[in-house]
Amino acid sequence: MPRKKRDVTSLLFLLPALVFVIVVLIFPMLSMFYVSFRDYNISAGTDRFTGLQNYVRLLTDPSVWGSLTITGAFMLVCGSAEFGLGLSLAMALNRIGRFRRYIMAILLVPMLLPSVVVGWVWMFMFYFRGPLYTILDFLGLPQFPWISESPQALFSLMGVDIWQWTPFMTLVLFAGLQSLPIEPSEAATVDGASAWQIWRHVRLPLLRDVMLIAVLLRAMDIFRLFDIVSIITRGGPYSDITQTISYYIYNVGFALQYDLGYTSAVAIFVLVVVFAAFQRFHMILRGTR
């Protein structure tokens, strides 16, 4: 086919999706950028140009920094816990001979559940005189204020995220383990390396790419942490201890006031943070190749 004609045909195939995304995503994004320079509040009925005022306000807003810190804490704690548990479970899966398929099918379940359902399951578990209360009571242990006290609620939510996403880590890392070539480990065994040495110096380096991608995806997903917060704690119980950045944006923009100008500014700021983080991870990922 002549080159000109090929280009036109390829464009015709690409065009529908491209036009759709431009109309439904890019134009609205640009309008958000425009609104972020305005005092635009639907409930108060204001709409006027205020320059950089929204951006100045967000830089001095303790809630923005507080919720970013909490999101970072989630990233750190959940990321490392999910990675550690996921890797150990993947190693265990790799070690066993029977029932592997059934165990994997069960581990798949929390990933398939809509996260609103995960939120309700754990709301139920944490609820006063709910299952966890019953279990602690049965064992004669002191009760724990799962979601009714401030720092504890944060740990509970982290636990929910770990419960929901450790299986993802496990399955990704297990797939990585399965795809490892067997020869390097065998060679190392012949050379008299211990099991630990084989893990440390042969298999982990081979797994590094898979591990980094899995951690990258999880870390980026923590920025979206909203559903379980909105069902279980709604940012509370006190002093916004579980208010992630996603929940903060929702709160300012839609739940408390419709202050969309300011919310747009915060959203653009978050977008910059997310892409800076993504670039950073991407560089680390490329650096190891």
Binding site: M1, R6, T9, S10, F13, L14, P16, A17, L18, F20, V21, L25, P28, S31, M32, L89, M91, A92, L93, R95, I96, G97, I103, I106, P110, L112, L113, P114, S115, V116, V117, W120, V121, W122, F124, M125, Y127, F128, R129, G130, P131, W163, T166, P167, R224, F226, D227, S230, I231, I245, S246, I249, Y250, G253, F254, L260, A267, V270, L271, V274
Partner: protein, 281 residues
């Protein structure tokens, strides 16, 4: 059995128990006839609705399911319509785009893939604000059509990404033979290429359905009363004083079970497809 293998079984068994216990305990609630919890925990009395229609059997009853399937039929219907429409629309658009990316040498097509991936990584709470402004301007707040538009848009990056991988594995020779015989690009796409892509399309449509069925944030913000979906209906059960756990658990089942059926059904399809291919050699 060696000692470390036994240890591995024990560890995995523990994980399986931790996954299963909360789920079974919660879904057991959907069969309970005592559904309310007051401020003092699980002490509420029995519910009176549907008591006659569904007699208890060892304290278990289906009245909660009857309640959500009748009283909350609208969100279930909305979810069904929105999920199917978005899945079909997104598949159609992505299929064309993925074909172009897989078959034509387009300048910067690697960058397109990168951009699609970063779109996928953008937090949805950032996208929901422009979506709200957009839908408000064109008067689509609380309309299922708004959700279809937004879901289709959200699915396209992922579908293109996934389908491109599948499409690249399909040998180009089959189509080339058709072109030599005078077949147009479009015709060879429809009659030769698409029938070969069954596995990829089914995998993509399953992921699409899973996404749409459980999507929460967009639905929460873009709908009010008429277009609410199952996740929003679940959210609306939340109350500071009384938690109707029975209907909540039943609705959560409605939000979950179709996905599992779908995955199981397709699992069979996959296995059959693979064995068929093997037999034909």
């Amino acid at each position: 059995m060696k000692r470390d293998e036994a240890l591995a079984y024990f560890y995995l068994g523990l994980a399986v128990v931790i996954v299963i216990v909360p789920l079974t305990w919660f879904f057991e609630m959907s069969l309970e006839s005592k559904w309310f919890t007051g401020p003092f925990g699980f002490t509420g009395g029995s519910i009176v609705y549907f008591k006659e229609a569904f007699p208890e059997w060892n304290g278990k009853t289906l009245q909660n399911y009857y309640f959500v399937l009748t009283d909350r039929a609208l969100p279930i219907l909305n979810t069904l319509v929105v999920s199917c429409a978005s899945t079909v629309a997104a598949l159609f658009l992505s299929m064309l785009a993925a074909y172009a990316l897989a078959r034509f040498k387009i300048r910067g097509s690697e960058n397109v893939a990168y951009w699609l991936l970063s779109l996928r990584l953008t937090p949805s709470v950032v996208i929901v604000i422009p979506m709200f402004l957009f839908m408000r301007n064109i008067g689509l707040i609380d309309s299922p059509f708004a959700l279809v538009l937004v879901y289709t848009m959200s699915l396209i990056p992922f579908d293109v990404w996934l389908l491109r991988g599948f499409f690249q594995e399909i040998p180009v020779e089959l189509e080339e033979a058709a072109w030599i015989d005078g077949c147009s690009r479009w015709r060879s796409f429809v009659t030769i290429f698409v029938p070969l892509t069954g596995g990829g399309l089914i995998a993509a449509s399953i992921f699409n359905m899973i996404f749409c069925w459980g999507e929460y944030l967009f639905a929460l913000i873009l709908t009010r009363t008429n277009a609410i979906t199952i996740p929003v209906a679940l959210y609306l059960f939340r109350s500071p004083t009384m938690m109707p756990w029975g209907p909540i658990a039943a609705m959560a089942m409605v939000a979950t079970v179709p996905l599992f059926i779908l995955v199981l059904a397709v699992h069979k399809y996959f296995v059959r497809g693979i064995t068929l291919g093997a037999v034909r050699g």
